[in-house]
Amino acid sequence: MKATDISDPEYFHKVVDCQYACPAHTPVPEYIRLIGQRRYSDAYMVNWESNVFPGVLGRTCDRPCEPACRRGRIEEQPVAICRLKRVAADHKDDANVASRMPVIPTQKNGRKIALVGAGPASLTVARDLMPLGYTIDLYDENAKGGGFMRSQIPAFRLPEEILDEEVNYVTDMGVSTIYNHYVDSMNGLLAKDYDAVFVGTGAPRGRDLQIPGRDQAKANIHIGIDWLESVAFEHTDRIGKKVVIIGGGNTAMDCCRTAMRIGGEQVTVTVRSTYEAMKASPWEKEDTLGEGIPILPNHSPREFIVDDGKLVAMTFDVVESSYDEHGKRTIRETGDIITIECTDVIIAIGQDNAFPWIEKDAGIEFGEWDMPVVNKQTFQTTNEKVFIGGDAAFGPENIITAVAHGHQAAISIDLYLSGKSVSQQRPPAGINLASTKMGIHEWAYDSEVIEDERQQSTHVPVEKALQDRKIESELGFDIETAFTEAERCLNCDIQTVFIEAKCIECDGCTDICPTNCITFTANDEEASLRQKLSAPALNLTQDLYISQDLPTGRIMVKDEDLCLHCGLCAERCPTSAWDMQKYLYTVTKAGDRPAPLLVEQSGSGDKQSDKAA
């Protein structure tokens, strides 16, 4: 194998599994360390720079980082990254954070941008472009910003004040908000004096289920996302006693738990798939079951039963899922039919994009499934003035993906309006690799690997939580629990950097490594090399770190898979051929400058931690 080029920014980025998996590439270990140091405001700002909505995401993120977490490969449970993010938001010093908001130039740059839809994607574009002097109009049909974070995520999961605070951080930068205004014509918008338009209108159309009885029972059949929005905006405040939810995603989980809070007594979730194959996040399923709501898998909707013009029950075909060797699923009816009595049904089986307001002659090409053609890197449409991001671009994803789109779209808009190429002149990521050595066997991070298991956050007692849909059901971590959980982080951003010229091949590192990551051996092809290491390197998604040839003709091979980043190799090394170096990777924001590399440099310190000290 060829020696690894560690100057390639992506090599070490990939080692930081959580950050690599995050669509917005939030530097997770960096903020977890700050939480461990009780620097909550600093931790919040690291997040805010990267993902704009730490308080919201700390409660509602889909957590692509957690399945990627290295800790989950050496023991059962990953670090509770999402809940730690919430800790930063819950315990930050608001005045300190407010004082660190970007300065908005009073002298504008003369460019004006329209953002359609005030969801996470548009708000991110505004957050990135306002400090550069752009003038921004933000349109939304509702009375407040937030998009589906407000309309579809129930208040018991995301309290309104948390959302308001983080939406306001952006709009308070001087964004001109045009709320209660539905944009009904793209051509109309383009005719105004905007230099660019960003569309972040989400995926607003909930799918329907056309089975017998649908029309006759329509008064008691609700589309999940519309119904949640109606509850959120208090147009709906009750539901019948027996509610059936159809669907197995997070929207279905939000619907059933909301129904329990506004009149539902027997609420049942039915899913066509197996329990395991449900799309909902595992923790959402657990919270649902925890509130006493049954989830019935293998139920395929058959018919709405209407009696005397009123919905009385639903029938389901019981099905079986089987998978072939390629993992392709086949669903087969068993012949059994089950009837469930109900007064209301909520259909939560997915959602689609809809752009009825974009005229066909607006210069925006539409492709498959009537979706606009959007460049995956630049988010530009075939009308070079129009950019689309978030769920509106490629279909429903999640908040953190919308934020990532927003950052990239903001870069594109800024390049476009500066007369630069949106594809060729994109700024590179900001990287910094610096030794953490403080002395002999002293590192600037807490290298000891602790063995605590994943901490559980506490919940409001179910009886109390069900009384009011606005009571937040989960309480998050207290400070002590947060510290314990933060210490579980393996500091995967502290990289093991190997310097060939210093190595005397004494084997000290190989002998001490707890997880047999390091081997000195003859070079070979990757496949056979993976077999002959101290422990076989079977996880092909994880790279092998290959050194140049050493004096004995061997090479050093490090399997990155299970490295605990404990620093013992570097401590055992008599010549400092191993060094523990902190790698900070920051996605560049609009304005051709990387996000601040070190939070320590950007703020005036944390008042809370000052007090603690």
Binding site: I74, E451, I504, A535
Partner: protein, 350 residues
């Protein structure tokens, strides 16, 4: 500084025939200097004993005094251990061995502990062919007292401070051959591929097995001019043979019989496969072994590998006809048969 090694291990760590991973054979984190050859040797012992499938508590590790003699703390935590007086490990080892012949005995010593203060005991334990592995962690200096030349420092080698050693070195391999050792090997801490099979063979050998392991002192003896440094040893080591240890039940694969090989069967049915690097070398012939050591030395080379083996010789137990059953398993009556039995013995000498 970390004095603690995380307990997490590779989930796919292989298991030996007892179902144990190497973790069961490890010890606490070493406090020797980072890069010390002794730590590599400890790791090799862990690997070898694990490979052999010996239960860790069936091993007794004994040592004298010195950096080397500290190292048994850092492997096989579950084994019995005795850190004896300087140079007196062989005497304590003999007592332990006589009392319980069923354990596997590992003696760890250093060049000072063996070639200086312990020289007398070393010579006599060889004569007695005590069933043990005697491993010398040989770094040619007194690392614990700031690196003075030891008795194994080569004539003409330079100390860290620049002084040239005027004295002839004691060659433990040549000496043991002369004293009649039944297993004599030399290796290098930086070459585990050679060292691990040698340790396995030495533990399986019935009788006294010496392994003289060049183990560089990174702090005091790893500089230009030293003849016990990592670089010097790598440049001057000359393997007598490549050793593969083959357990009883394992079939010899084609790979292993390829080339000029010779199989030496051990008393327990295990065998040592020697891939010879020169045709005229016979490791069961003591005269050949002595010559080879001398010839290589004359050429400025260091002969390594399994240099001599005699699997047939009687060990100390057989010579003295000592009880096979460990003393702790005999009942009181057998161990203390009383005055009449003593009288009977005394009578036999009259």
């Amino acid at each position: 500084m970390s004095f603690y090694k995380p307990t997490f291990r590779h989930p796919e760590s292989p298991k030996n025939k007892l179902g144990l991973t190497t973790r069961a054979y490890e010890g606490p984190i070493s406090t020797l200097c980072a890069g010390c050859g002794h730590d590599s040797i400890s790791a090799a012992i862990v690997q070898a004993v694990w490979d052999l499938g010996i239960a860790p508590h069936r091993v007794a590790k004994l040592s004298g005094i010195g950096c080397s003699s500290k190292s048994p703390s850092y492997f096989l935590s579950k084994a019995s251990g005795f850190n004896s007086v300087h140079g007196r490990m062989p005497a304590v080892m003999t007592g332990a061995n006589v009392a319980n012949g069923e354990l596997h005995y590992i003696g760890i010593s250093g060049d000072g502990d063996t070639a200086s203060i312990g020289m007398g005991q070393f010579a006599h334990v060889i004569r007695r062919n005590l069933n043990m592995m005697y491993l010398v962690e040989n770094n040619g200096c007194y690392g614990l007292t700031k690196g003075q030349d030891s008795a194994t420092a080569d004539e003409g080698s330079k100390s860290k401070k620049g002084a040239i050693n005027p004295f002839e070195a004691i060659d433990l391999v040549a000496l043991s051959l002369d004293l009649g050792a039944t297993f004599v090997a030399r290796s290098f801490s930086g070459d585990k591929e050679q060292l691990i099979p040698l340790i396995k063979a030495a533990i399986s050998h019935k009788g006294f097995a010496l392994i003289d392991v060049i183990s560089p002192c990174v702090t005091f003896n790893n500089h230009q001019g030293s003849t016990k440094s990592y670089d010097y040893t790598r440049e001057h080591a000359q393997a007598a043979s490549v050793v593969d240890f083959v357990p009883t039940m394992q079939e010899i694969t084609l790979e292993q019989v390829k080339g000029s090989t010779r199989e030496v069967e051990l008393h327990n049915g295990d065998s040592v496969q020697l891939r010879k690097l020169s045709d005229d070398y016979d490791p069961t012939d003591r005269k050949v072994a002595v010559n080879a050591v001398m010839n290589q030395k004359a050429e400025g080379k260091l002969l390594t590998g399994l240099i001599y083996i005699n699997p047939e010789a009687d060990d100390f137990h057989q010579m003295l006809n000592v009880s096979d059953k460990p003393l702790n398993q005999h009942d009181q009556q057998t161990l203390c048969p009383g005055a009449s039995a003593l009288q009977e013995i005394n009578q036999g000498f009259r």
